[in-house]
Amino acid sequence: MNFEEVYTSLTSIGCCSRCCLRFIGDQSSNFEDPSHSLEELLSVIPEEETKNKKLRQNTCSVCLGLLEDSFPDELLLHSSWKRLQDYETDTYRINLNTPACIAIRDKALNLYLKQKFPEFCKLKNIDEVPEIHHVFKLSFKRKFDEHCGKKYNVHSGVQLWITLNHDDNDKEVEVMRNLDIIDHRRQHFFKNKVYGKNIVNDILSKVDDKRFSRFVKLPPEIPSTPLYIESVTFETLPIYFGGRYCKYSRILSQSPWKFGAIENSKNDEMNEELEGENGRNITSSVVEIIVDGLHQVFGFDKEKIKFSASGREDSDVRCLGSGRPFFVRIESVKKTFPEELFRKLEEVINVSPDVSVFDMQLTDKNSVKEVKCGEEFKKKTYVALCLVTEPKPVEEIVDRINKINGSIVTEQKTPVRVAHRRALMARKRLIHYIRAAVIPGHDRIFQLTLLTQAGTYVKEFIHGDFGRTYPSLSDLVSVELDILRLDVIDIDLDWPTHINSSPHPLVLSIKNEKIVEENEKQVESELTHSCSDIHNLSPSMNEGIEDEPL
């Protein structure tokens, strides 16, 4: 098979050298210097070269001039390039928004070659021709790099959007109406509108070749004008910070109360009592404290920060230990972040007596997904302070609880507390581990440590919630219990990477206990894996554990 024939044919219909190379060469061809690459590929440079040059005075009939050498020069004249310097970044990325007619022309040429040179197409696998967008980047990125002094990188957060258009676009797209046979609703909707790029691509992917060649001219005509640049805009991808937070206050909620959404009735008695205890009001929230810190240290706009955490705790529940994983999403950031700033951020936020953050770090969109999965699937460890509401010796109750071996299955009907915002149904939940301990000097309260499946309503599990949770701990020990205080001490999610958080001593002792039990049984369970992780991370923490009281 000789490529020369194909090459001659391509040039004669008005293809630029890069478009020729797209079809004759492959992904690995050097697109920066197309004529040189072509020379290498073709054994004999066709004699008509000079004649074709004349022809190429016209705009390329496929890429409409996008891949010609004159295009980047025109683009670089655009004033927006100066704005790239405002961004404190070493990288950038270009996104092309090409008019739909280029896709049609590309398809037309593809089909033309298939009909004219079937053998060549089989050999080259014509459907895998490098895309125009891709070739554009391959060809010119070095030129752009030199111009702006930054490096092209696909993963860069700074994106340059180049929107291109062509005078005859509307006219050429009009043809698609005839090809769009399936979707009548769409035809009706677009009666007086021009088909967009996505719809055209959709039609092109579905249409059969015969029908296409009946309506579209093969090969594509040489256009009278090149495409023009409609706009160049910058867009930054949002960035993500991950971390963990602890909450030490019992009158602080995670997210701000929406004014007016909740009447002042929310847990009146409870709050009054607790406010008296600390002398502070519920005016702030965990989110506000963290966002304020971000604003102070990094100077981000507060409106552009979005907070998400792996679940939430009630406002009267503390969150201790290594804390609750969360992330913030920040829009349109122009700066880069040295590592020290994260430690500074922690310092600034940790001034607040109610909230601490740890493990602050830069993260990305994909790993952020873990946070939400932790909300639903990860085990949580709690410490609860329980109240015995019957005149029964607390030691006996503690004893009874500690005799419970293995996990407890409990069925929780949606608690009255949240019935207004959740569907009513019975949910089965597992309590993996439960231990009680007497608190010396107190005869009506005891401390409870629980390891539960995600989504367990712990408060309801203790008191039974009018019998809607069955069996509750009260049912299991046949004594009426109530819950005085609750703390979350661990969320079993190994994200983000631990930097300076330290697990709650109780968590480590539970895990130790579990390991011992499991070693005895010689059964491997998933829990040991998560345990060993924490042990590896903080070997120094293990030394003191045995002395810690449970």
Binding site: N267, M270, R422, L484
Partner: protein
């Protein structure tokens, strides 16, 4: 945590703990506000309903202390949840919005209580809203609606019309003080 020098008290380190424990309301009173409906009582036939509203406006309906069954120390023989065309037991509630829940008016009957002496007392809702759920504990053992009437023996869980303010929902219902006055005037 040590670096931040924050003092994190242990869970049981609470100031005035004894006082807090003695003031600590049981869960069935925490955040609940009780009101009473006496509209359906006639002569010596008292059909009082106690409505316990939680801070999220969800209401639990109890037998009130002044109800004839309690006043006259009667024993419940059976509960009949077939009211008119509707069977309260067949109530099904779908999703967050509580679709297809049976709707209740102030004078809707939740169930008829039949006592061992052959009397039949209607148990009225006293509040407008959607019937969410009946108490599984009471369904198992009818006597619990009497013995646990001040704790966890609610009969039905009702969601009042949500958009309404508390004052509108609770309009015409008596608070504890007024209800006690009514009770004493009955003697």
């Amino acid at each position: 945590m040590d670096e931040t020098n924050k003092h994190i008290p242990e869970i049981h380190e609470i100031d005035n703990i004894e006082k807090k424990i003695s003031n600590f309301l049981p869960y069935y009173e925490r955040g609940f506000h009780k009101v009473y409906s006496v509209e359906f009582s006639k002569d010596n036939f008292y059909l009082d309903t106690c409505i316990s509203m939680y801070s999220n406006k969800i209401c639990l309906l109890f037998l009130a202390d002044g109800h004839s069954i309690i006043k006259e120390n009667k024993t419940i023989k059976s509960l009949d949840f077939k009211v008119g065309k509707e069977d309260r037991l067949a109530n099904s509630v779908g999703g967050k919005c509580k679709r297809s829940a049976q709707s209740l008016h102030k004078n809707s009957v939740i169930c008829f209580i039949e006592t061992t002496d052959g009397m039949k007392y209607p148990f009225c809702a006293g509040i407008k809203g959607k019937l969410l759920d009946l108490n599984p504990v009471v369904l198992e053992d009818y006597s619990k609606m009497v013995t646990f009437r001040n704790t966890k023996g609610y009969v039905a869980m009702v969601q009042p019309i949500f958009q309404n303010k508390r004052e509108i929902i609770l309009k015409g219902l008596l608070n504890r003080q007024d209800y006690e006055n009514v009770l004493s005037s009955r003697k």
